[in-house]
């Protein structure tokens, strides 16, 4: 699915990502782990076009995507969430969801006036889907609330649901379970597994090894911007290089 080929990025003198080559192949859920500051989020930013790479190529489904602008990457089917959630605070939960579908007819000024029927129909469908997803993340009772009134965990759920609403081929999750309680972590994991069944691909940055082991089929390990290992989560866990990177022994 997602393929990075010798991707390089430095900020001033700091090599944030160096010669990174990885391929998520057909693994439905791939993981990306590594100590803090190892370049995981930078890698996500490179993939999604928020930061252009210095060198190297990024391919998605065989098509080159490096050099595209972030919104162009998004409409090619890669949607991301953020480490610090980025919900739309002064919009309701439902509105947050309705933003997500790509290429809405009603986004165009002309169609708004001349294709009112199509716009209405599409709105109805999107609304139905949004309500289903909101129900799935158990936020139905809050659908008309401003998103800023949600708790942190609920905001994470909303952001995830919104990503799914965009109907991407692959979704990049930046620490989906960081800072939320175990019950909600379970909800998030259930949701991810359900979506996997529906044929969505995931690429997840995660520190919680229990989550990684339970979810991921394949894991990449970054340290100082370099990929130091990859493999099945169980193997990775016992890899001496990985233990060294994490524990410094």
């Amino acid at each position: 699915m997602l393929e990075l080929n010798g991707v390089n990025k430095s900020f001033g003198g700091i090599q944030a990502v160096s010669h990174c080559t990885l391929n998520t192949k057909e693994y439905k859920i791939s993981g990306l782990i590594g100590p803090n500051g190892s370049g995981k989020t930078t890698l996500f930013n490179l993939v999604t076009g928020f930061i252009p790479p210095d060198h190297g190529e990024i391919h998605f489904q065989g098509k080159r995507i490096d050099g595209l602008l972030p919104h162009e990457v998004a409409i090619r089917g890669i949607v991301r969430t953020f480490q610090i959630t980025r919900i739309l605070p002064k919009m309701t939960v439902l509105e947050n969801m309705l933003i997500a579908p790509p290429h809405q007819t009603g986004e165009k000024f002309g169609s708004l006036w001349f294709k009112q029927k199509a716009v209405k129909k599409e709105e109805g469908e999107n609304r139905k889907k949004a309500l289903e997803l909101i129900d799935l993340v158990r936020l139905s009772h809050l659908k008309d609330q401003f998103a800023e009134n949600l708790s942190y965990g609920q905001q994470k759920l909303l952001e995830l649901a919104r990503g799914l609403m965009a109907d991407p081929k692959m979704i990049l999750l930046d620490e989906p379970t960081a800072g939320i309680n175990p019950i909600m972590i379970k909800t998030i994991m259930e949701l991810i597994l359900k979506m996997k069944e529906w044929g969505m691909f995931f690429f997840i940055i995660e520190h919680n090894m229990d989550v990684v082991i339970e979810l991921c089929e394949w894991v990449f390990v970054l340290d100082n911007g370099e990929k130091i290992a990859e493999g099945r989560p169980r193997e990775i866990q016992n890899d001496p290089r990985v233990i060294e990177a994490y524990l410094g022994v």
Binding site: R86, I87, L88, M91, I99, L142, Q145, N149
Partner: protein, 300 residues
């Protein structure tokens, strides 16, 4: 009675002007400090054309197109900037446009201004007297209100709001933020042009001095006071502020106080803004989610 009619005409014109700015400031989060430029372009275009015997329908249309087009061309460079920098760029554009009115004497007669702008005749209806003009502005104000409300409640308006709330999140979801900002800016400019046109034909004399930064600040104040990002906010804001401004103008003050009037008005506006920011920063009307059922989140 005439004063009363005059008051409402001014309120309605400023309502249109403020609604157009509300789309940009309130809904898209574009702090445009040069909005008066498009008001001026509308006023000048329609005035110049009608003074050259162009039919009113055509002149009105041309004024809207001129305002929209200049909005489009000004937005391309300035919308590459963000936040404060965008504000400063628009401030500059506002002044540039005013300088053009002032210095292109062959076209605008410069500081002399354009006197004798005719009262409009639209589709063989003449709008010359105050009640007639009130009807005309009322019609346009309602039209503007409905059109903008339609846009705001549509998927397009939702994206404007999303961009205001979080540009990065909107981009990550595949929205071309730059394009949507241009759309908002152009729509706002067109309606500012409409307000300017109506104002020019009402006042019948325009000069560059009418299109200063102070005008922009006044509409900005209307939007913020009324409640930015609300449908009725600009209407309410215009009623309060224009009523206040225009009635102060007709206040019978003793002659020796008269020269305090203008500074007094500015002082009261300034004071009002300070008080507003302290006690109700969201304006008279506030943007709200549909339900107020906040308690439930704590039960989870």
């Amino acid at each position: 009675m005439d004063l009363f009619l005059h008051l409402w005409i001014m309120i309605l014109i400023y309502t249109i002007f403020a609604m157009s700015l509300n789309l940009e400031v309130g809904y898209t989060g574009l702090f445009n400090f040069g909005h008066v430029a498009f008001f001026g372009i509308g006023a000048y275009t329609s005035a110049l054309l009608t003074l050259h015997q162009v039919p009113f329908e055509l002149a009105f249309a041309a004024a809207l197109i001129a305002a929209g087009l200049s909005g489009f061309f000004l937005s391309i460079p300035s919308l590459r900037l963000r936040g404060d920098y965008f504000g400063i760029a628009t401030l500059g554009f506002g002044e540039i446009i005013r300088m053009i009115f002032q210095n292109e004497v062959w076209l605008t007669k410069g500081p002399m201004g354009l006197p004798g702008i005719p009262k409009p005749v639209l589709f063989s209806c003449r709008f010359a007297t105050l009640p007639q003009y009130l009807l005309l502005t009322l019609g346009f104000a309602i039209l503007t209100f409905l059109v903008l409300r339609f846009i705001i409640r549509s998927p397009l308006g939702r994206i404007f709001k999303a961009i205001r709330e979080d540009e990065v999140a909107s981009t990550a979801l595949g929205k071309n933020v730059f394009h949507f900002r241009i759309k908002s800016f152009v729509i706002g400019s067109v309606f500012a042009g409409l307000a300017g046109t109506l104002w020019g034909h009402y006042i019948t004399f325009i000069s560059p001095g009418d299109f200063t930064l102070l005008e922009t600040i006044l509409v900005l104040l209307i939007v913020v006071l009324g409640g930015k990002g609300t449908e009725w906010g600009p209407v309410l804001g215009a009623i309060v502020l224009i009523f206040f401004q225009e009635s102060l103008r007709f206040l019978r003050l003793p002659a020796e106080w008269a020269h305090y009037l203008a500074p007094l008005q500015q002082m009261i506006f300034g004071g009002l803004l300070v008080l507003l920011m302290i006690f109700r920063p969201e304006g008279i009307l506030r943007e709200k989610g549909k339900s107020t059922d906040v308690g439930t989140k704590r039960c989870q």
